[in-house]
Amino acid sequence: MTFKTAHKVLATAVVATMAATGLAGCNRDGESGSASSGTVVLAVSTQTNPFFVQLVDGAKKEAKAKGVDLQIQDASDDAATQANQLANAVSTSAKVVIVNPTDSDAVASSVKALNKAKIPVITVDRSSSSGDVASFIASDNVAGGAQAAKELATMMGDKGEIIHLQGTPGASASRDRGKGFTEEIAKHPGIKVVAKQTANFDRSKALDVTTNLMQAHPTAAGIFAENDEMAIGAISSLGSKAGKSVKIVGFDGTADGIKAVKAGTLGATIAQQPALLGKTAVDQAADILAGKTVSKTTPIKVVLVTKDNAKDYE
């Protein structure tokens, strides 16, 4: 048996589907079709995590306000997909590329290729381990992790057992937050980390992992989740205990996270300002397009959000 696909129907269907998705998938506020009009490409690591959705929204809003033509690419958290998208950006001759790397080591060869093509690179949230980056915009994750440790210790009265939910193995955000948290919590001798497990930054995984860990450590009185999605998974697992006998601190300050802080189930979260990250990236890109110089690094402040100030971060 050789290929026996009814070619005409298949191809027509393919093209039709493409046309349909082309219409459906284009940014309503962006140009459709022609790639040559795409002046700024924003390659984001994933669009299934609210944090990055907010980052992209912030970037889109700013692009509209500044009249920048912005193209969004999403790598679904796969380093190879991102490499492909950045290679495509070179061949479609984008003017500036903003990249939110899936991984700082993996993106390096793509950054070098962009350097070779003389396309300025802006990195957001994570940077590239080598190559020439015009501007790096990120929250201070290590400081944020330390802040989370301080707040959790305060809430627990400086004593008790805690569970540490880790993000995707190898992701720099997980490494940095974990590092900041671990270093700071060590300064509180009354507090003991009884379990460290990864839940991949994922809400449903965190639900299972927390349930299992609470079986093993029923006396645990605190949970640090390296992002809000996992914190909310932990809250679902704990039910009525959340925020009462078990204090939880998250990280990111996503809409759901802030909601949980207001409800009292989440003790606190370290708010990054993803929309501001995206907005700043587009601003820098616009500056580069206008021939202005931009600063090499722009740290975006992380903020401790508790019940008292949750209103300001909605």
Binding site: M1, T2, F3, G33, D77, N84, D103, D105
Partner: protein, 333 residues
């Protein structure tokens, strides 16, 4: 070794028998090369939508972007021809790259050696699956599902969850050799090996026989068990190469590399006209299938279509390709 790579099972009668007109002949050629015709039409449509699509740099991009999945898919072709399936290739690719990187970064072995070790790890993982299937009588789906989990787990254990730098020898797999990118050379190499084995060797013919009717193959004296072990080992070896090429492109072994790639590889083989019930499949078909997937991704990417919709389109293409295949063979019988 001689012998034509004729497919033993279910011969398809050609659409025409007496003195076909040029038009009918073209029609029947097109019918028999559906995936290729689909690919050509897709390329024309994309070119009309965005002229960038057919520029030389972009065509090179497509070649590089098809390479990893295509290499995996060539290995998968052997397996699918025997009516098996290998769900572990994505994880085995990651494991091969990770062991290779670890041997370089933590043990300090020379680069060329870590490259060979990476390939051997792939071969070994495949052989283990093959043994479980051929001698342990596990269904291929289950054995390779287990291997998928084991290989991914080992990758995470070895790496501690962090990316590990690869050796220069491995990184060269992601470079260019003059004007041609090395991933494309590896794709061609894997494709030629796959074509040669399937259509020019006794082993290849045995694969079709096993896929057509395993019992009959056994009774006619084909050493089915040993061949099955070899087939899964080959698929593992190809997965290992794919993993090393991927690591070379990223100059690091990623713990989550190749996640879900096995499904792309299976899709490429199936779009290329192979049947999951075994006995059919060709290297050229698999190549077209892999390129078709890469073209859809690259094209929709350039057109700025969201990756969410890309998944929808790819799903539709797989369903259409296989659906029409079934429809046509029904009409013929």
């Amino acid at each position: 070794m001689t012998g034509k790579g004729n497919i033993i099972v279910t011969t398809a009668t050609t659409a025409t028998t007496q003195k076909p007109s040029v038009g009918r002949r073209m029609g029947s050629w097109a019918l028999n090369h559906g995936a290729l015709v689909g690919l050509i039409i897709l390329c024309i449509a994309l070119f009309i939508a965005t002229p960038v699509f057919l520029t030389v740099p972009n065509i090179i991009n497509i070649g590089i972007q098809a390479a990893v999945v295509a290499i995996m898919a060539f290995g998968m072709t052997f397996v699918i021809v025997t009516s098996g399936i290998d769900l572990s290739v994505g994880s085995v690719a990651a494991l091969s790259a990770m062991v290779s990187a670890w041997m370089f970064s933590n043990v300090g072995l020379p680069g060329w050696l870590t490259l060979i070790i990476g390939l051997l790890i792939g071969l070994l993982a495949g052989a283990v699956s093959g043994l479980a299937i051929a001698y342990g009588k596990l269904p291929a789906f289950i054995a390779t599902l287990a291997m998928m989990s084991v290989a991914r787990g080992l990758t995470l254990v070895i790496s501690g969850g962090t990316p590990v730098a690869t050796s220069d020898a491995v990184n060269h797999l992601g470079d260019d050799l003059g004007p041609v990118p090395v991933p494309v050379i590896m794709l061609a190499l894997a494709g030629v090996v796959c074509w040669f084995i399937l259509s020019r060797t006794v082993l290849g013919r045995s694969l079709y026989a096993i896929g057509g009717n395993e019992e009959a193959a056994r009774l006619s004296g084909i050493p089915v068990r040993r061949i099955l072990v070899a087939v899964y080992a080959l698929a593992g070896l190809f997965a290992g190469l794919a993993g090393l090429v991927l690591a070379g492109r990223l100059t690091s072994a990623q713990p989550q590399a190749g996640l879900g790639y096995e499904l792309d590889a299976i899709a490429a083989v199936v779009i290329g006209g192979a049947s999951l019930s075994g006995g059919s499949g060709k290297a050229s078909g698999t190549f077209i299938g892999a390129v078709l997937l890469a073209v859809i991704r690259n094209g929709l990417n350039i057109l700025n279509v969201s990756s969410f919709w890309q998944q929808v389109v790819i799903g539709c293409v797989i369903a259409l390709a296989v659906g029409f295949d079934v429809f046509r063979s029904k009409k013929e019988s």
